[in-house]
Protein backbone atom coordinates (compact mmCIF):
# COMPACT_ATOMS: atom_id res chain seq x y z
CA UNK A 1 0.00 0.00 0.00
CA UNK A 2 1.32 3.47 -0.94
CA UNK A 3 -0.07 6.82 0.05
CA UNK A 4 0.91 10.36 -0.86
CA UNK A 5 0.59 12.94 1.91
CA UNK A 6 1.50 16.54 2.50
CA UNK A 7 3.23 17.02 5.82
CA UNK A 8 1.50 19.53 8.11
CA UNK A 9 4.02 19.52 10.95
CA UNK A 10 5.56 22.79 9.81
CA UNK A 11 4.90 25.35 7.06
CA UNK A 12 7.44 23.81 4.66
CA UNK A 13 4.83 21.15 3.78
CA UNK A 14 7.00 18.30 2.48
CA UNK A 15 5.43 15.85 0.02
CA UNK A 16 5.58 12.49 1.77
CA UNK A 17 5.18 9.00 0.37
CA UNK A 18 4.29 6.27 2.84
CA UNK A 19 4.65 2.62 1.87
CA UNK A 20 3.40 -0.18 4.11
CA UNK A 21 5.99 -2.93 3.86
CA UNK A 22 4.61 -5.44 6.33
CA UNK A 23 1.76 -5.27 8.77
CA UNK A 24 2.55 -2.22 10.91
CA UNK A 25 5.88 -1.47 9.20
CA UNK A 26 6.09 1.71 7.20
CA UNK A 27 8.66 3.38 5.03
CA UNK A 28 8.43 7.15 4.66
CA UNK A 29 10.23 9.13 1.95
CA UNK A 30 10.22 12.82 1.06
CA UNK A 31 10.48 14.08 4.64
CA UNK A 32 13.10 16.63 5.61
CA UNK A 33 13.03 15.80 9.31
CA UNK A 34 12.16 12.91 11.65
CA UNK A 35 8.95 14.63 12.72
CA UNK A 36 7.68 14.26 9.16
CA UNK A 37 8.23 10.50 9.27
CA UNK A 38 6.41 10.21 12.59
CA UNK A 39 3.56 12.35 11.25
CA UNK A 40 3.15 10.20 8.14
CA UNK A 41 2.87 6.95 10.08
CA UNK A 42 0.48 8.48 12.60
CA UNK A 43 -1.61 10.04 9.83
CA UNK A 44 -2.41 6.68 8.23
CA UNK A 45 -2.76 4.68 11.43
CA UNK A 46 -4.36 7.07 13.97
CA UNK A 47 -4.68 10.65 12.67
CA UNK A 48 -4.55 13.43 15.26
CA UNK A 49 -4.84 17.22 15.27
CA UNK A 50 -4.14 19.97 17.75
CA UNK A 51 -7.51 21.59 18.44
CA UNK A 52 -7.86 25.33 19.00
CA UNK A 53 -11.17 26.93 19.98
CA UNK A 54 -12.65 29.48 22.37
CA UNK A 55 -14.45 29.28 25.71
CA UNK A 56 -17.16 31.61 26.89
CA UNK A 57 -15.93 34.26 29.34
CA UNK A 58 -17.66 34.38 32.67
CA UNK A 59 -19.84 37.08 34.17
CA UNK A 60 -16.97 38.87 35.89
CA UNK A 61 -16.13 40.34 32.52
CA UNK A 62 -13.07 42.44 32.03
CA UNK A 63 -14.27 45.82 33.19
CA UNK A 64 -14.40 47.63 36.50
CA UNK A 65 -17.66 48.76 38.09
CA UNK A 66 -17.23 52.40 37.11
CA UNK A 67 -16.47 51.43 33.52
CA UNK A 68 -19.53 49.20 33.33
CA UNK A 69 -21.77 52.18 34.15
CA UNK A 70 -20.26 54.34 31.43
CA UNK A 71 -22.86 54.62 28.63
CA UNK A 72 -20.22 54.60 25.92
CA UNK A 73 -18.69 51.48 27.38
CA UNK A 74 -22.11 49.81 27.53
CA UNK A 75 -22.84 50.68 23.92
CA UNK A 76 -19.46 49.33 22.86
CA UNK A 77 -20.04 46.20 24.86
CA UNK A 78 -23.43 45.66 23.24
CA UNK A 79 -21.79 45.81 19.86
CA UNK A 80 -18.90 43.65 20.92
CA UNK A 81 -16.39 46.40 20.33
CA UNK A 82 -14.51 46.19 23.59
CA UNK A 83 -12.56 43.61 25.52
CA UNK A 84 -12.61 40.04 24.19
CA UNK A 85 -15.68 38.03 25.00
CA UNK A 86 -14.06 34.67 24.24
CA UNK A 87 -10.97 33.03 25.70
CA UNK A 88 -8.80 31.24 23.11
CA UNK A 89 -7.74 27.75 24.21
CA UNK A 90 -5.77 24.87 22.72
CA UNK A 91 -5.15 21.23 23.45
CA UNK A 92 -1.83 20.46 25.12
CA UNK A 93 -1.11 17.91 22.36
CA UNK A 94 -2.75 16.47 19.26
CA UNK A 95 -6.21 14.97 19.77
CA UNK A 96 -7.40 11.82 17.93
CA UNK A 97 -9.55 13.00 15.03
CA UNK A 98 -12.61 10.96 16.01
CA UNK A 99 -12.81 12.80 19.35
CA UNK A 100 -12.55 16.33 17.97
CA UNK A 101 -16.28 17.09 17.63
CA UNK A 102 -17.00 15.94 21.16
CA UNK A 103 -14.05 17.90 22.51
CA UNK A 104 -15.18 21.07 20.73
CA UNK A 105 -18.64 20.65 22.21
CA UNK A 106 -17.13 20.36 25.69
CA UNK A 107 -15.00 23.47 25.15
CA UNK A 108 -17.99 25.49 23.89
CA UNK A 109 -19.94 24.59 27.03
CA UNK A 110 -17.11 25.60 29.35
CA UNK A 111 -17.23 29.00 30.97
CA UNK A 112 -14.11 30.67 32.33
CA UNK A 113 -14.03 33.57 34.76
CA UNK A 114 -11.04 35.91 34.53
CA UNK A 115 -8.35 36.44 35.65
CA UNK A 116 -6.72 33.69 33.64
CA UNK A 117 -3.01 33.02 33.13
CA UNK A 118 -1.69 31.94 29.77
CA UNK A 119 -1.17 28.18 29.94
CA UNK A 120 -3.69 27.72 32.77
CA UNK A 121 -5.40 24.33 32.56
CA UNK A 122 -9.08 24.85 31.70
CA UNK A 123 -10.01 21.16 31.29
CA UNK A 124 -7.71 18.55 32.82
CA UNK A 125 -6.95 15.16 31.22
CA UNK A 126 -10.06 15.15 29.10
CA UNK A 127 -11.63 11.66 28.90
CA UNK A 128 -8.34 10.27 30.24
CA UNK A 129 -6.75 10.81 26.83
CA UNK A 130 -3.81 12.53 28.50
CA UNK A 131 -4.85 15.83 26.92
CA UNK A 132 -5.42 19.11 28.72
CA UNK A 133 -7.20 22.13 27.34
CA UNK A 134 -5.13 25.20 28.21
CA UNK A 135 -5.64 28.96 27.93
CA UNK A 136 -3.80 30.51 24.98
CA UNK A 137 -3.73 34.03 26.40
CA UNK A 138 -3.84 35.85 29.69
CA UNK A 139 -6.89 37.89 30.67
CA UNK A 140 -7.30 40.05 33.73
Amino acid sequence: MRRELTCIVCPIGCSLTVTEKEQGEFEVTGNRCPRGAAYAVEEITAPKRVVTATCRLGPAGACSESESKDPIYQRMRRHGLCDPRRLPVKTSGPCPKEYIDELLNTIYHTQVTPPVQRGAVIIKNWKNLGLDVVAARALD
Binding site: T6, A53, G80, K97, I100, A136, R137, A138
Partner: protein, 418 residues
Amino acid sequence: MKELRYDAVVIGGGAAGMAAALEIDKAGFSCAIVEREDHLGGILMQCIHNGFGLHEFKEELTGPEFAERFAEQVAKSNIAVYLGTTVTDINAQNGPYEKELICASPDHGILKIISKSIVLAMGCRERNRGNVRIPGARPAGVYTAGLAQRLVNIEGYIPGKEVVIIGSGDIGLIMARRMSWVGCHVKAVVEIMPYPSGLTRNIVQCLHDFNIPLYLSCQTTNIFGNDRVEGIEVTPMENGALVPEKAFRIDCDTVLLSVGLVPENELSKDAGVELHPTTNGPIVDASLMTNVEGIFACGNVLHVHDLVDWVAEEARFAGKQAAAWLRGERPLHQVRVKAGSNVRYANPGKLDPSRENKVYLRSMIVKNDAVLELRLDNRVIKTIKKGHIQPSEMITLSVGPKDLEGYTTDSALELALL
Protein backbone atom coordinates in the same frame (compact mmCIF):
# COMPACT_ATOMS: atom_id res chain seq x y z
CA MET B 1 -0.88 69.99 22.94
CA LYS B 2 1.32 67.61 24.93
CA GLU B 3 4.76 67.23 23.36
CA LEU B 4 7.07 64.23 23.77
CA ARG B 5 10.51 63.33 22.47
CA TYR B 6 12.03 59.96 21.60
CA ASP B 7 14.97 58.67 19.62
CA ALA B 8 12.64 56.33 17.76
CA VAL B 9 8.90 55.84 17.38
CA VAL B 10 7.48 52.55 16.12
CA ILE B 11 4.05 52.83 14.52
CA GLY B 12 2.08 49.64 15.13
CA GLY B 13 2.29 47.22 18.07
CA GLY B 14 1.95 43.91 16.26
CA ALA B 15 4.66 41.31 15.83
CA ALA B 16 6.75 43.61 13.63
CA GLY B 17 6.42 46.69 15.82
CA MET B 18 7.26 44.88 19.05
CA ALA B 19 10.26 43.06 17.52
CA ALA B 20 11.67 46.29 16.07
CA ALA B 21 11.12 48.30 19.26
CA LEU B 22 12.84 45.67 21.41
CA GLU B 23 16.00 45.94 19.32
CA ILE B 24 16.02 49.73 19.49
CA ASP B 25 15.56 49.58 23.25
CA LYS B 26 18.32 46.98 23.56
CA ALA B 27 20.67 49.34 21.74
CA GLY B 28 20.06 51.93 24.45
CA PHE B 29 17.85 54.41 22.59
CA SER B 30 14.58 55.79 23.91
CA CYS B 31 11.70 54.27 22.01
CA ALA B 32 7.90 54.40 21.91
CA ILE B 33 5.30 52.12 20.33
CA VAL B 34 2.11 53.79 19.14
CA GLU B 35 -0.72 51.27 18.71
CA ARG B 36 -4.29 52.13 17.74
CA GLU B 37 -5.88 49.04 19.35
CA ASP B 38 -6.21 48.70 23.11
CA HIS B 39 -3.69 45.89 23.28
CA LEU B 40 -0.38 44.85 21.76
CA GLY B 41 -0.26 41.90 19.39
CA GLY B 42 -2.12 43.20 16.37
CA ILE B 43 -3.83 40.65 14.17
CA LEU B 44 -2.19 37.76 16.06
CA MET B 45 -4.79 38.10 18.82
CA GLN B 46 -7.54 36.84 16.52
CA CYS B 47 -5.39 34.14 14.90
CA ILE B 48 -6.15 31.56 17.57
CA HIS B 49 -5.05 28.59 15.44
CA ASN B 50 -1.60 27.12 15.99
CA GLY B 51 1.46 27.01 13.76
CA PHE B 52 3.18 30.24 14.76
CA GLY B 53 6.69 30.46 16.13
CA LEU B 54 8.35 27.36 14.69
CA HIS B 55 11.41 29.38 13.66
CA GLU B 56 11.22 32.05 16.35
CA PHE B 57 10.58 29.92 19.45
CA LYS B 58 11.17 26.40 18.04
CA GLU B 59 7.69 25.37 19.10
CA GLU B 60 4.21 25.54 17.74
CA LEU B 61 2.18 28.36 19.26
CA THR B 62 -1.18 30.01 18.70
CA GLY B 63 -1.27 33.65 17.61
CA PRO B 64 -2.12 35.08 21.07
CA GLU B 65 0.68 33.04 22.68
CA PHE B 66 3.19 34.31 20.13
CA ALA B 67 2.04 37.89 20.68
CA GLU B 68 2.10 37.66 24.49
CA ARG B 69 5.65 36.34 24.53
CA PHE B 70 6.72 39.50 22.72
CA ALA B 71 4.43 41.72 24.80
CA GLU B 72 6.02 40.37 27.99
CA GLN B 73 9.47 41.33 26.72
CA VAL B 74 8.13 44.79 25.88
CA ALA B 75 6.71 45.11 29.40
CA LYS B 76 10.14 44.31 30.87
CA SER B 77 11.89 46.86 28.64
CA ASN B 78 12.05 50.66 28.80
CA ILE B 79 9.78 51.01 25.76
CA ALA B 80 6.93 53.51 26.21
CA VAL B 81 3.67 52.05 24.90
CA TYR B 82 0.77 54.25 23.80
CA LEU B 83 -2.31 52.05 23.38
CA GLY B 84 -5.58 53.17 21.82
CA THR B 85 -3.52 55.85 20.09
CA THR B 86 -3.78 56.56 16.38
CA VAL B 87 -1.09 58.35 14.40
CA THR B 88 -2.93 60.75 12.15
CA ASP B 89 -0.05 62.60 10.54
CA ILE B 90 3.70 62.37 10.01
CA ASN B 91 5.73 65.42 9.15
CA ALA B 92 9.30 64.72 8.06
CA GLN B 93 9.98 68.16 6.57
CA ASN B 94 11.77 69.69 9.60
CA GLY B 95 15.11 68.01 8.97
CA PRO B 96 16.36 64.45 9.38
CA TYR B 97 16.29 64.40 13.20
CA GLU B 98 13.05 66.29 13.83
CA LYS B 99 10.24 64.08 12.60
CA GLU B 100 6.87 65.05 13.94
CA LEU B 101 4.02 62.62 14.63
CA ILE B 102 0.55 63.81 15.48
CA CYS B 103 -1.40 61.20 17.46
CA ALA B 104 -4.91 61.06 18.91
CA SER B 105 -6.15 58.97 21.80
CA PRO B 106 -8.99 59.07 24.34
CA ASP B 107 -6.47 58.95 27.22
CA HIS B 108 -3.97 61.56 26.03
CA GLY B 109 -6.00 63.72 23.66
CA ILE B 110 -3.92 65.07 20.83
CA LEU B 111 -0.23 64.27 21.25
CA LYS B 112 2.76 65.56 19.38
CA ILE B 113 5.75 63.23 19.35
CA ILE B 114 9.08 64.44 18.01
CA SER B 115 11.38 61.65 17.01
CA LYS B 116 14.71 61.24 15.29
CA SER B 117 13.68 58.07 13.53
CA ILE B 118 10.46 56.20 12.74
CA VAL B 119 9.85 52.51 12.12
CA LEU B 120 6.73 51.83 10.06
CA ALA B 121 5.07 48.60 11.25
CA MET B 122 1.39 49.17 10.47
CA GLY B 123 0.79 45.81 8.83
CA CYS B 124 -1.67 45.26 6.03
CA ARG B 125 -5.40 45.11 5.44
CA GLU B 126 -7.71 42.87 3.47
CA ARG B 127 -8.86 43.40 -0.07
CA ASN B 128 -12.62 43.65 -0.11
CA ARG B 129 -15.38 43.00 -2.59
CA GLY B 130 -15.02 46.44 -4.17
CA ASN B 131 -11.28 45.89 -4.70
CA VAL B 132 -11.82 42.70 -6.71
CA ARG B 133 -15.11 43.80 -8.34
CA ILE B 134 -17.36 40.83 -7.73
CA PRO B 135 -20.63 41.56 -9.55
CA GLY B 136 -24.14 40.91 -8.26
CA ALA B 137 -26.55 42.09 -5.59
CA ARG B 138 -25.39 43.77 -2.40
CA PRO B 139 -27.08 41.78 0.36
CA ALA B 140 -25.91 41.33 3.96
CA GLY B 141 -23.68 38.35 4.60
CA VAL B 142 -20.56 39.25 2.62
CA TYR B 143 -17.54 39.54 4.93
CA THR B 144 -13.80 39.60 4.55
CA ALA B 145 -12.31 36.47 6.10
CA GLY B 146 -10.36 38.44 8.69
CA LEU B 147 -13.46 40.29 9.86
CA ALA B 148 -15.29 36.98 10.25
CA GLN B 149 -12.27 35.69 12.17
CA ARG B 150 -12.50 38.61 14.58
CA LEU B 151 -16.24 38.12 15.03
CA VAL B 152 -15.91 34.41 15.78
CA ASN B 153 -12.68 34.29 17.78
CA ILE B 154 -12.81 37.50 19.81
CA GLU B 155 -16.36 38.75 19.90
CA GLY B 156 -18.17 35.42 19.92
CA TYR B 157 -20.52 35.88 16.98
CA ILE B 158 -20.96 33.34 14.18
CA PRO B 159 -21.75 35.30 11.01
CA GLY B 160 -23.74 32.63 9.15
CA LYS B 161 -24.55 28.96 8.66
CA GLU B 162 -23.94 27.95 5.04
CA VAL B 163 -20.65 29.42 3.93
CA VAL B 164 -18.78 29.82 0.65
CA ILE B 165 -15.26 31.21 0.70
CA ILE B 166 -14.03 33.19 -2.28
CA GLY B 167 -10.26 33.10 -2.69
CA SER B 168 -7.91 30.54 -1.20
CA GLY B 169 -5.62 32.82 0.80
CA ASP B 170 -4.46 31.50 4.16
CA ILE B 171 -7.00 33.40 6.22
CA GLY B 172 -9.77 31.98 4.04
CA LEU B 173 -8.49 28.45 4.49
CA ILE B 174 -8.04 28.90 8.24
CA MET B 175 -11.60 30.28 8.38
CA ALA B 176 -12.92 27.25 6.45
CA ARG B 177 -11.75 25.08 9.34
CA ARG B 178 -12.87 27.55 12.00
CA MET B 179 -16.39 27.85 10.54
CA SER B 180 -16.58 24.04 10.28
CA TRP B 181 -15.48 23.72 13.89
CA VAL B 182 -18.12 26.16 15.12
CA GLY B 183 -20.83 24.15 13.40
CA CYS B 184 -21.21 25.86 10.00
CA HIS B 185 -21.37 24.04 6.71
CA VAL B 186 -18.57 25.27 4.46
CA LYS B 187 -19.72 24.37 0.97
CA ALA B 188 -16.80 25.41 -1.20
CA VAL B 189 -13.68 27.48 -1.67
CA VAL B 190 -13.59 29.22 -5.06
CA GLU B 191 -10.20 30.30 -6.45
CA ILE B 192 -9.68 32.25 -9.66
CA MET B 193 -6.08 31.06 -10.17
CA PRO B 194 -5.20 27.53 -11.30
CA TYR B 195 -3.36 26.95 -8.01
CA PRO B 196 -4.27 27.72 -4.38
CA SER B 197 -2.93 30.98 -2.99
CA GLY B 198 -2.52 29.64 0.56
CA LEU B 199 0.07 27.33 2.12
CA THR B 200 -0.18 23.66 1.16
CA ARG B 201 -0.45 22.54 4.78
CA ASN B 202 -3.52 24.70 5.16
CA ILE B 203 -5.15 23.07 2.13
CA VAL B 204 -4.58 19.72 3.83
CA GLN B 205 -5.63 20.47 7.39
CA CYS B 206 -8.37 23.00 6.65
CA LEU B 207 -10.02 21.66 3.48
CA HIS B 208 -9.18 17.96 3.04
CA ASP B 209 -9.92 17.22 6.71
CA PHE B 210 -13.47 18.53 6.24
CA ASN B 211 -14.06 17.35 2.64
CA ILE B 212 -14.48 20.95 1.49
CA PRO B 213 -14.23 21.18 -2.32
CA LEU B 214 -11.72 23.64 -3.79
CA TYR B 215 -12.72 24.97 -7.21
CA LEU B 216 -9.59 26.19 -9.00
CA SER B 217 -9.64 28.38 -12.15
CA CYS B 218 -13.15 29.52 -11.23
CA GLN B 219 -14.47 33.05 -11.02
CA THR B 220 -17.39 34.24 -8.89
CA THR B 221 -19.63 35.93 -11.45
CA ASN B 222 -22.68 36.78 -9.34
CA ILE B 223 -23.92 37.10 -5.79
CA PHE B 224 -27.65 36.47 -5.34
CA GLY B 225 -30.02 37.62 -2.58
CA ASN B 226 -32.03 40.67 -1.61
CA ASP B 227 -31.68 41.20 2.13
CA ARG B 228 -29.34 38.30 2.81
CA VAL B 229 -27.01 36.32 0.56
CA GLU B 230 -28.84 33.37 -1.03
CA GLY B 231 -26.12 32.00 -3.24
CA ILE B 232 -23.32 32.68 -5.67
CA GLU B 233 -22.71 31.87 -9.31
CA VAL B 234 -19.38 30.28 -10.17
CA THR B 235 -18.06 30.26 -13.73
CA PRO B 236 -15.12 28.04 -14.66
CA MET B 237 -12.27 29.50 -16.73
CA GLU B 238 -10.46 27.75 -19.53
CA ASN B 239 -7.34 29.25 -21.10
CA GLY B 240 -7.99 32.47 -19.25
CA ALA B 241 -11.54 32.95 -20.56
CA LEU B 242 -14.85 32.41 -18.78
CA VAL B 243 -16.95 29.46 -19.96
CA PRO B 244 -20.51 30.67 -19.20
CA GLU B 245 -22.21 27.43 -20.28
CA LYS B 246 -20.39 25.63 -17.45
CA ALA B 247 -21.49 28.14 -14.80
CA PHE B 248 -23.15 26.72 -11.68
CA ARG B 249 -24.80 28.01 -8.54
CA ILE B 250 -23.88 27.31 -4.93
CA ASP B 251 -26.56 28.14 -2.36
CA CYS B 252 -25.26 29.79 0.80
CA ASP B 253 -26.15 32.52 3.31
CA THR B 254 -22.63 33.81 3.92
CA VAL B 255 -19.71 34.69 1.68
CA LEU B 256 -16.20 35.15 3.09
CA LEU B 257 -13.58 36.89 0.97
CA SER B 258 -9.94 35.91 1.15
CA VAL B 259 -8.66 37.70 -1.91
CA GLY B 260 -5.37 39.17 -0.83
CA LEU B 261 -3.81 41.69 1.51
CA VAL B 262 -2.51 45.18 0.85
CA PRO B 263 0.13 46.94 2.98
CA GLU B 264 -1.47 49.84 4.82
CA ASN B 265 0.62 52.80 3.72
CA GLU B 266 -1.56 55.91 3.95
CA LEU B 267 0.68 57.32 6.70
CA SER B 268 3.83 56.43 4.80
CA LYS B 269 2.61 58.37 1.77
CA ASP B 270 1.89 61.31 4.07
CA ALA B 271 5.48 61.28 5.19
CA GLY B 272 6.72 61.34 1.61
CA VAL B 273 7.71 57.68 1.50
CA GLU B 274 7.93 56.23 -2.00
CA LEU B 275 6.02 52.98 -2.61
CA HIS B 276 6.89 50.00 -4.78
CA PRO B 277 4.23 49.32 -7.42
CA THR B 278 4.40 45.52 -6.99
CA THR B 279 4.60 45.13 -3.22
CA ASN B 280 2.55 48.24 -2.42
CA GLY B 281 5.05 48.74 0.38
CA PRO B 282 7.85 51.28 0.72
CA ILE B 283 10.95 50.99 -1.45
CA VAL B 284 13.77 50.24 1.00
CA ASP B 285 17.54 50.02 0.90
CA ALA B 286 19.87 47.45 2.48
CA SER B 287 19.04 48.71 5.97
CA LEU B 288 15.26 48.67 5.32
CA MET B 289 15.30 52.46 5.27
CA THR B 290 12.86 54.20 2.96
CA ASN B 291 13.68 57.13 0.70
CA VAL B 292 12.99 59.42 3.69
CA GLU B 293 16.12 59.38 5.80
CA GLY B 294 15.51 57.85 9.23
CA ILE B 295 12.18 56.22 8.35
CA PHE B 296 12.39 52.44 8.27
CA ALA B 297 9.76 49.82 7.36
CA CYS B 298 9.28 46.17 8.31
CA GLY B 299 6.71 43.40 8.44
CA ASN B 300 3.51 43.37 6.41
CA VAL B 301 3.57 47.10 5.77
CA LEU B 302 6.74 46.53 3.75
CA HIS B 303 5.50 43.45 1.89
CA VAL B 304 2.96 40.79 2.80
CA HIS B 305 4.63 37.82 4.49
CA ASP B 306 3.34 34.28 4.79
CA LEU B 307 4.83 33.55 8.23
CA VAL B 308 4.96 35.75 11.32
CA ASP B 309 8.37 34.25 12.06
CA TRP B 310 9.79 36.05 9.01
CA VAL B 311 8.01 39.22 10.09
CA ALA B 312 9.71 39.10 13.49
CA GLU B 313 13.09 38.38 11.91
CA GLU B 314 12.77 41.22 9.41
CA ALA B 315 11.54 43.63 12.09
CA ARG B 316 14.42 42.82 14.42
CA PHE B 317 16.76 43.65 11.59
CA ALA B 318 14.93 46.94 10.93
CA GLY B 319 15.19 47.80 14.63
CA LYS B 320 18.93 47.09 14.64
CA GLN B 321 19.39 49.20 11.53
CA ALA B 322 17.37 52.08 12.99
CA ALA B 323 19.66 51.97 16.04
CA ALA B 324 22.73 51.93 13.78
CA TRP B 325 21.35 54.94 11.91
CA LEU B 326 20.86 56.74 15.22
CA ARG B 327 24.52 56.04 16.02
CA GLY B 328 25.40 57.70 12.74
CA GLU B 329 26.38 54.54 10.86
CA ARG B 330 25.62 54.44 7.14
CA PRO B 331 26.34 51.71 4.60
CA LEU B 332 29.41 52.59 2.52
CA HIS B 333 28.27 50.98 -0.69
CA GLN B 334 25.07 49.34 -1.82
CA VAL B 335 24.33 46.91 -4.64
CA ARG B 336 20.95 47.10 -6.33
CA VAL B 337 18.70 44.03 -6.46
CA LYS B 338 16.70 43.28 -9.61
CA ALA B 339 13.79 40.86 -9.90
CA GLY B 340 14.65 38.62 -12.85
CA SER B 341 12.51 36.11 -14.69
CA ASN B 342 9.67 34.52 -12.71
CA VAL B 343 10.40 36.66 -9.65
CA ARG B 344 7.53 38.95 -8.75
CA TYR B 345 9.64 41.05 -6.42
CA ALA B 346 12.66 40.86 -4.13
CA ASN B 347 13.04 42.79 -0.89
CA PRO B 348 15.05 44.79 0.10
CA GLY B 349 15.89 46.60 -3.10
CA LYS B 350 19.56 47.07 -2.19
CA LEU B 351 22.24 45.01 -0.46
CA ASP B 352 25.20 45.98 1.69
CA PRO B 353 28.22 44.10 0.28
CA SER B 354 30.12 44.38 3.58
CA ARG B 355 27.85 41.96 5.48
CA GLU B 356 25.32 39.13 5.15
CA ASN B 357 21.94 40.26 3.75
CA LYS B 358 18.67 38.41 4.06
CA VAL B 359 16.58 38.66 0.91
CA TYR B 360 12.90 37.74 0.63
CA LEU B 361 11.39 37.04 -2.76
CA ARG B 362 8.17 35.80 -4.30
CA SER B 363 7.83 33.48 -7.23
CA MET B 364 5.38 34.09 -10.05
CA ILE B 365 5.23 30.42 -10.99
CA VAL B 366 4.46 26.98 -9.56
CA LYS B 367 7.33 24.60 -10.24
CA ASN B 368 9.07 21.49 -8.94
CA ASP B 369 12.88 21.29 -8.81
CA ALA B 370 13.21 25.02 -9.33
CA VAL B 371 16.60 26.71 -9.30
CA LEU B 372 17.32 30.20 -8.02
CA GLU B 373 20.00 31.90 -10.08
CA LEU B 374 22.03 34.88 -8.82
CA ARG B 375 23.67 37.05 -11.46
CA LEU B 376 25.98 39.92 -10.61
CA ASP B 377 26.17 42.18 -13.65
CA ASN B 378 25.17 39.32 -15.99
CA ARG B 379 27.70 36.91 -14.48
CA VAL B 380 26.20 33.86 -12.75
CA ILE B 381 27.68 33.82 -9.26
CA LYS B 382 25.54 31.18 -7.62
CA THR B 383 22.70 28.74 -8.28
CA ILE B 384 20.60 27.40 -5.42
CA LYS B 385 18.25 24.39 -5.62
CA LYS B 386 14.88 25.44 -4.28
CA GLY B 387 12.76 22.30 -4.78
CA HIS B 388 9.07 23.08 -5.04
CA ILE B 389 8.18 26.76 -5.39
CA GLN B 390 4.82 28.52 -5.58
CA PRO B 391 3.63 32.14 -5.35
CA SER B 392 2.06 31.65 -1.92
CA GLU B 393 5.32 30.68 -0.24
CA MET B 394 8.03 33.24 0.31
CA ILE B 395 11.56 32.27 -0.72
CA THR B 396 14.41 33.49 1.47
CA LEU B 397 18.13 33.56 0.83
CA SER B 398 21.26 35.02 2.31
CA VAL B 399 23.71 37.04 0.22
CA GLY B 400 27.07 37.93 1.70
CA PRO B 401 30.39 39.64 0.86
CA LYS B 402 31.73 36.45 -0.77
CA ASP B 403 28.85 36.36 -3.25
CA LEU B 404 29.28 40.00 -4.13
CA GLU B 405 33.05 39.93 -4.62
CA GLY B 406 34.13 42.24 -7.41
CA TYR B 407 31.09 44.51 -7.21
CA THR B 408 31.24 48.11 -8.35
CA THR B 409 29.07 51.02 -7.26
CA ASP B 410 26.90 50.47 -10.38
CA SER B 411 26.49 46.74 -9.80
CA ALA B 412 23.11 45.04 -9.84
CA LEU B 413 22.29 41.59 -8.52
CA GLU B 414 19.61 39.89 -10.57
CA LEU B 415 17.59 37.06 -9.03
CA ALA B 416 15.82 34.65 -11.36
CA LEU B 417 13.84 31.46 -10.84
CA LEU B 418 14.44 28.83 -13.51
